[in-house]
């Protein structure tokens, strides 16, 4: 599913990943933890095909990410939730989710149902649907952005701090969502400071430090 060997990635000239060896099997749920700046975000972006590895090998969903075309091909199949929500301020919640669903290649009609379903599952009530995003709270934005991801049904979920900035209910929703993804046979990599929370979902914890895998409960 995901296999990295001695993967090095640079941000500008800074070696954010200094040689990562990691293997994740299909259907697995992996928790990434580590100090700030350990490389969690970079690792997730690397697996999503947004970064080119400087050296080493990265294979995700059978794509060799050392080449540009393969990186482009893998992007469509993974779902990355990053720090920014990727929403357009001036469009409504429904328009945003629908736009991202259609960009992902889903047809317009079934996606409307899915959009509503996904939003409800995330605890966003119908009243919010026609509100422009700039009127939402941070938590509501994050849920909207998650909804846009859920609608796409990715094969590999890469969740970067999905609990950050959410209230108790919101964090519960995220857990439900991860549970759904796992139940549907998806593979989930999630970075989080909410150790207890995610540990109940996943027995495997990978600790990053200094841009490399410091500890792996599976190893």
């Amino acid at each position: 599913m995901v296999e990295l060997n001695a993967a090095v990635a640079l941000l500008g000239r800074f070696p954010a990943l200094t040689g990562v060896d990691l293997r994740i099997e299909p259907g697995e749920t992996v928790l990434l933890q580590g100090p700030n700046g350990a490389g969690k975000t970079t690792l997730l972006r690397l697996c999503a095909g947004l970064l080119a590895p400087e050296s080493g090998s990265v294979t995700v969903l059978g794509h060799d990410l050392t080449t540009g075309p393969e990186r482009r091909a893998v992007r469509r199949r993974v779902g990355l939730l990053g720090h920014s929500t990727g929403l357009y301020e001036d469009l409504t919640v429904a328009e945003n989710v629908r736009f991202w669903a259609r960009v992902a290649g889903l047809d317009a009609e079934p996606s409307v149902e899915r959009v509503v379903g996904a939003l409800q599952r995330l605890g966003l009530d119908d009243g919010l649907l026609d509100l422009p995003v700039h009127r939402l709270s941070a938590g509501q934005r994050r849920r909207t952005s998650l909804a846009a991801l859920v609608v796409r049904r990715p094969e590999l979920w890469l969740l970067d701090e999905p609990h950050a900035g959410l209230d108790q209910a919101g964090r519960n929703v995220v857990d439900t969502l991860i549970g759904d993804a796992v139940a549907a046979g998806g593979t989930v990599v999630v970075s989080s400071h909410e150790l207890e929370r995610v540990r109940s979902l996943s027995p495997r914890v990978v600790t990053l430090a200094g841009g490399t895998v410091h500890r792996d409960t599976n190893a």
Partner: protein
């Protein structure tokens, strides 16, 4: 190909919808365009004959200044909250994204041109002698500016405070458009005995090269 056009249309519609909601171009750039016309009037001493003689040049300088703002707005829409990352993750072809973004800028430029045309008629006393030439010039120049601007917007994006680079990068490249469109307008407004249609040919070449080249080159820039 269908997929390409559908993606491009999706992006263009999204940008235009954002503009319809936020009205940044309509409420900020359009008044600026008219302001530029008025400022030229002050600077050139409010002699309507002079203004009329220079109307085509002033018109296109105003269009270029507005285009800079429109392109910057088009870039910032994607940059504000990491939407560009989402677009890259969608696997959409960079060429389709380019065409979509450029099309939205094009529509906004055409609206601004209509407004500016009204402006030079009212303020400078210009008279349209060849409407067809005028429209064709406006459309082709808008294509050329929108495509070049969108490509250079992608180039200058993500530089943080250094995004002020856009004008110095973009304006020299657009020199032929400025010259060509001004001369064609000279003919269309009956200002000078030049062959406006020949200039239109130059604009057409520029527009075609900018569209094709931009679509090709955009991949190399968005891929980052």
């Amino acid at each position: 190909m269908n997929r390409f056009l559908a993606d491009a249309r999706l992006v263009a519609a999204k940008d235009l919808r954002i503009e319809a909601r936020s009205r940044v171009v309509l409420n900020q750039v359009a008044p600026f365009a008219l302001l530029v016309l008025v400022l030229f009037g002050f600077a050139l001493d409010a002699d309507q004959r002079t203004l009329r003689a220079f109307a085509p040049g002033l018109f296109w300088v105003a269009v270029l200044l507005c285009a800079l703002l429109a392109v910057q707005r088009s870039v910032s829409v994607e940059q504000a909250d990491g939407a560009l990352t989402g677009l890259r993750l969608s696997g959409m072809s960079p060429a389709a994204l380019f065409v979509g973004k450029a099309a939205a800028v094009f529509v906004q430029l055409v609206v601004l041109e209509v407004l500016l045309t009204a402006g030079i008629i009212v303020l400078y006393g210009s008279e349209i002698e060849q409407p067809l030439l005028l429209v064709a010039t406006g459309v082709l120049a808008a294509v050329a500016v929108a495509c070049t601007g969108t490509l250079y917007g992608a180039l200058a994006s993500g530089l943080g405070v250094r995004e002020t680079l856009l004008p110095i990068l973009l304006l020299p490249v657009l020199a032929p458009v400025l010259i060509g469109a001004t001369r064609a307008f000279d003919d269309a407004l009956g200002n000078a005995a030049v062959d406006g249609w020949a200039w239109l040919g130059l604009l057409a070449v520029f527009a075609v090269v900018a569209t094709a080249g931009g679509a090709l080159a955009h991949g190399a820039l968005v891929e980052e």
